[in-house]
């Protein structure tokens, strides 16, 4: 064996620290910390050898860790294993270099209560008679017979294969007793042999799964997909452990431990719904399988004298006395504040699920509430916050994806906690309530328990990149990388680790690749920019485009006949166009976040209204101006509320009508011809036309005698103060809503259309411009003035004949366009300008639509169609009817943007 490590003083220091009692038992955290640091130094001093000896080093580290955490099942054995491993590392036979029991005198006490290593046996046994129950393991010191171990590995592999095969047939037929047996048996034999061989983790794992399967066999536990998942996960971990066993150096085998893996799995197992309490077997030390008197018993014995600090939160030390009311009050207030901060942080988490700070900010309140409620004996609050904390901890550690489902669970937990705190606040006797159960919380805890935790964040893309870098550097062949990627995905480990472990790539190369990857990542990093800066940039670019066209249209410039100038102008135009495109795209965001916020709304609404409603989302990736996204949220909320409350019937009613019990609201977004179309469709009862008509008459909105067509009646629901719902519910029916929706949509220069089929449902369609900063418009001239007509309202333009002009009594001037009569709107009259052509047949007509009516705008000339940047007119002119803003045209002149709705109302006032 080569001498190791390269810097012998480190190793000697480690040996001395470990062997000669400088470390005074588990109380000497400083000494143990030194050992860990020495291990790191050893690993850093000679990375290549350290990589080779990774198994042994890791084992030493793991054992020290569990001593620190007071999780060691047998302290004395752990110390011996450490010494054996370290002795092996420096290439000396353990028995000669390290006295098995260092003399007590040689151990300088470093703590107030020194417990020299050599004396632990007597001390432990004196304090804890239960250790006598552990059969003296003949396998502790001498190495396991390599042949025996080899046989076990072989056999375990076969067993694993058998499990996987039979689990599949069990999945097909969960009742198949033979299949359960066939899965049970391999776990049983693995458990048996691993116990004999001192393979603690394999033993613990297989024992637990064996228990589950035994219960399933006895019909005490149903074979659910969840159970099958558990079995498969356990099989994966078992595979990993067996693999480790094979690749680790012989002395490390004793302590081969995937503790972390097994622990987290067993923890997960505890979260599962277990019908029988006795399934929970304490961590069984090796070779003591049949006598469960190991660590768990030892701990509780010790606990009798003084509470062990590792006592579980829910059964451990709680203040036995009544709760101090003042303390309780402080807690309630502080907890509420903390909960309020969660919703805020959830939002940033939703937009960036990988934001570790945001996860932590959501995690922390639950963590703090859990901590304090444990002291205050508030069992329900403690359990609930603890469970959510666990989920978030998994998310923080990258073991669980921050999915929408997770966020929903967290939000719901927040609500329930708020509710529990309120109850606590109002309860006359908080002490009685503290331990009381809340059915809501109990149901929710079940929901958390059922939460599918297999949803892991995607590591694959990142892994592949490191692999690609290594392939590009010709360090590793592509085939090997592909296998490693596969493996890293299966085991949820970093590809670098897998490659190093399989000795496919040296550590230096992998860390080099990681560094390169980090650089690559940094180069696509994001910068947070204030939105007003972004708006200024977009405006500025708009101005630039306009200034450019002003320059280009300058006649002096046209006189210059220089080829180079022409070429440069083309180049300039290309750059400004690109700049404009980029700056516009910077403000576009997917509509997804807005849509997803509505999922919770629908869930809450259906619960409140006692209906079963699901929200279907389509086109969530459609991009929309971020300024607009905020504006449309409220309208969408109103419309969805309406659908949920007025539209969709109760489950019983739906059943009676032969519809499925659950109603559906479909929310879809798409981009179409320069607009964003948002559809809100439900499969409820549709708009009640008779009711609308009746209500509109009652409210005096329409005369009692009327012939209004359907479409006009639909319009009524947008009338301010109109509500057909007699009963004001918690959800909607306050008479505000649809009029606000319409107003908002119009402010956004969009339109809303309504359709409804009785018994089949209603359908609202919002048509919004892509962005609020720029509109696509037709520039027209009336006299010398220029106006922009938004193309969203424009249907066609035409030159009428004299015969198309009519004057109708009471309705003013009309134009006949394709057999229908439309009111003629003389823009020059409305805006008091001198027209060039007062007669329509000499001028131009622009047919615009407003609602479902069409109007003809009279103009002198069409200048052309162009995109214009909208400029506000300032506060002084914001109430101007008929004009929605101004725009600077290419030649530097100002044009006013027409607001078609305003123009129509101006016209109607004039005629009336």
């Amino acid at each position: 064996m080569s001498s190791f490590p390269a810097h012998p003083e480190d190793a000697r220091g480690l040996i001395e620290t470990l062997s000669f009692g400088v470390v005074a038992g588990s109380d000497d955290l400083a000494g143990l910390g030194d050992c860990l640091n020495l291990l790191d130094q050893v690993a850093n001093a000679d990375p290549a050898t350290a990589a080779r000896k990774r198994g042994s080093l890791k084992s030493v580290e793991k054992i020290i860790n569990r001593i620190i955490l007071e999780e060691s099942p047998d302290l004395e054995r752990d110390w011996k294993t450490i010494r054996a491993l370290v002795g092996e590392l420096v290439g000396k036979p353990e028995a000669e270099s390290v006295p098995p029991v260092p003399p007590a005198a040689a151990s300088p006490p470093v703590t107030a209560s020194p417990v020299p290593v050599g004396r632990t046996r007597e001390q432990t046994e004196a304090a804890n008679p239960a250790t006598h129950a552990i059969p003296p393991s003949g396998l502790t010191e001498e190495l396991v017979d390599p042949e025996l171990l080899g046989d076990f590995i072989e056999e375990a592999r076969e067993n694993i294969a058998a499990i996987e095969l039979n689990v599949l047939s069990l999945e097909n037929d969960p009742q198949d007793k033979d299949a359960i047996n066939a899965v049970f048996r391999p776990f049983h034999s693995v458990k048996g042999v691993s116990g004999f061989l001192n393979l603690t983790d394999i033993n613990r794992l297989s024992h637990q799964v064996e228990n589950l399967l035994d219960a399933a066999r006895a019909d005490q536990l149903p074979v659910t997909p969840a159970l099958i998942d558990v079995v498969l996960q356990a099989t994966d971990i078992l595979k990993e452990l067996v693999q480790q066993l094979e690749t680790t150096d012989p002395p490390a085998r004793l302590a081969v431990s995937g503790s972390a893996l097994v622990d987290s799995f067993l923890e997960k197992l505890e979260c599962l719904d277990r019908p029988q309490p006795d399934l929970e077997i304490p961590a069984v030390p090796a070779a003591a399988v049949s006598q469960p008197t190991g660590a768990a018993t030892a701990t509780s014995e010790r606990g009798a004298a003084s509470m062990p600090p590792s006592a579980p939160a829910d059964q451990g030390a709680v203040l036995g006395e009544a709760i101090d009311p003042e303390l309780l009050k402080e807690f309630i207030e502080e907890a509420k504040e903390n909960l309020a901060s969660i919703e805020l942080n959830i939002l940033s988490l939703e937009s960036d699920p990988e934001d570790k700070d945001a996860i932590n900010a959501v995690f922390r309140p639950f963590h703090s509430i859990k901590g304090v409620s444990g002291f205050l004996n508030l069992t329900t609050i403690n359990h609930l916050s603890h469970q959510v904390e666990n989920l978030l901890d998994a998310a923080r550690g990258g073991a669980l994806a921050v999915s929408d489902r997770l966020i929903d669970i967290v939000l719901k937990a927040t609500d329930i906690l708020k509710e529990l705190l309120n109850q606590l606040d109002q309860a006359p006797d908080p002490n009685a309530l503290a331990a009381a159960d809340s059915p809501q919380a109990t149901a929710f805890l079940q929901q958390i328990a059922d939460f599918d935790r297999s949803d892991r964040p995607q590591l694959v893309s990142a892994s592949r990149k490191v692999g690609e870098i290594l392939v590009a550097r010709e360090v590793v062949p592509e085939q090997v990388v592909r296998q490693a990627v596969e493996k890293s995905r299966e085991q949820q480990r970093k590809i670098g680790e897998v490659l190093v472990e399989e000795k496919a790539a040296p550590v230096q190369e992998v860390s080099g690749a990681l560094r390169q990857q980090r650089h690559a990542r940094e180069s696509v990093a994001f910068v947070r920019v204030a939105t007003d800066k972004l708006d200024n940039l977009v405006d500025g670019v708009g101005e630039l485009v306009i200034a450019q066209s002003m320059v280009l249209q300058n006649e002096q410039l046209h006189a210059v006949k220089d080829q180079k100038l022409q070429k440069d102008i083309v180049q300039l135009s290309r750059i400004t166009a690109e700049l404009q495109r980029i700056s516009m795209s910077m403000r576009m965001v997917p509509i997804k976040n807005t849509f997803q916020k509505l999922i919770r709304l629908v869930r809450d609404l259906s619960r409140k209204a006692g209906k079963e409603i699901s929200l279907e989302l389509h086109g969530e990736d459609t991009e929309i101006d971020r300024n607009m996204v905020e504006e449309i949220y409220e309208p969408l909320v109103h419309m969805i509320r309406n659908s949920a409350d007025h539209g969709i019937e109760s489950p019983e009613e739906r059943e009676r009508l032969g519809k499925p019990r659950g109603g559906t609201i479909r929310l879809a977004a798409e981009q179409s011809a320069g607009s964003i179309i948002i559809d809100i469709q439900d499969d409820g009862k549709g708009l009640d036309l008779d009711r609308i008509r009746q209500r509109a008459i009652e409210r005096g909105i329409i005369p009692a005698q009327n012939n209004l067509p359907e479409s006009a009646l639909f319009e009524m629901i947008f009338h301010p103060g109109f509500s057909t719902n007699e009963k004001v519910t918690d959800v909607s029916g306050r008479g505000v809503g649809m009029d606000v929706v319409k107003k908002t949509v119009e402010q956004l220069k969009g339109k809303i259309e309504t359709a409804s089929t009785p018994g089949k449902g209603s359908h609202f369609q919002l048509k919004l411009p892509l962005t609020m900063a720029i509109i696509d418009g037709m520039v027209i001239k009336v006299g010398e003035q220029r106006y922009v007509v938004p193309t969203i309202a424009l249907k066609e333009s035409l030159r009428p004949g004299r015969q198309d002009y009519f004057t109708v009594q009471g309705s003013g001037e009309m134009m006949k366009v394709r057999d229908s009569l439309m009111p003629l709107v003389r823009l020059h009259q409305l805006f008091r300008v001198e027209p060039r052509h007062p007669d329509p047949w000499e001028a131009l007509l622009l047919v615009v639509t407003e609602g479902d009516r069409s109007f003809c705008l009279l103009a002198d000339e069409i200048v052309g169609r162009q995109e214009v940047v909208i400029k506000g007119l300032g506060a002084a002119m914001k109430d101007l009817v008929g004009i929605s803003g101004g725009a600077i045209l290419g030649d530097g002149r100002v044009a006013l943007i027409l607001d078609v709705k305003g123009v129509v109302s101006l016209h109607e006032n004039r005629v009336a």
């Binding site: 109380d27 400083a30 620190i68 107030a112 003084s306 030390a317 402080e330 903390n338 703090s368 859990k370």
Partner: protein
């Protein structure tokens, strides 16, 4: 106990938790208890006040308990200061990191006065 004249600094972002720890310390006869709501605030206290013992939470905004520990251990005047880290059962694994940075000991929430006394006996110099 001879602790009563020691100056203890309790660091936690959750004020109820600080109060609970303070109450428990009072039970153990400590008289001089100082508070800080995170690592940064703790450093402020340390710069103006002689402190004999720190009892700190781990997870706090602004500056965590671990960062406070690192600061204390790298400061020549403070490096020997007894430092007790408060942690939760689920986060116990993190303690390894703190041990590497020479935390004096740790205590798992929720704890009683008796457990705290036991821990303090291990890390405070005998008087």
């Amino acid at each position: 106990m001879a602790y009563k004249n020691l100056n203890v600094l309790v660091v936690d972002d959750f004020s109820t938790m600080r109060r609970i720890v303070r109450n428990i310390l009072r039970e153990l006869d400590f008289k001089n208890i100082f508070e800080a709501e995170n690592g940064k605030a703790a450093i402020d206290v340390l710069s103006g006040q002689k402190i004999d013992l720190i009892v700190s939470d781990w997870n706090m905004p602004e500056m965590t308990g671990l960062d406070l520990l690192k600061y204390v251990r790298s400061n020549d005047q403070l490096k020997g200061l007894p430092f007790l880290m408060v942690t939760a059962e689920a986060q116990k694994g993190n303690i390894i990191e703190a041990v590497k940075f020479k935390v004096s000991n740790y205590i798992v929430k929720p704890f009683t006065a008796a457990i705290l006394a036991e821990k303090l006996a291990k890390i405070l110099p005998a008087e």
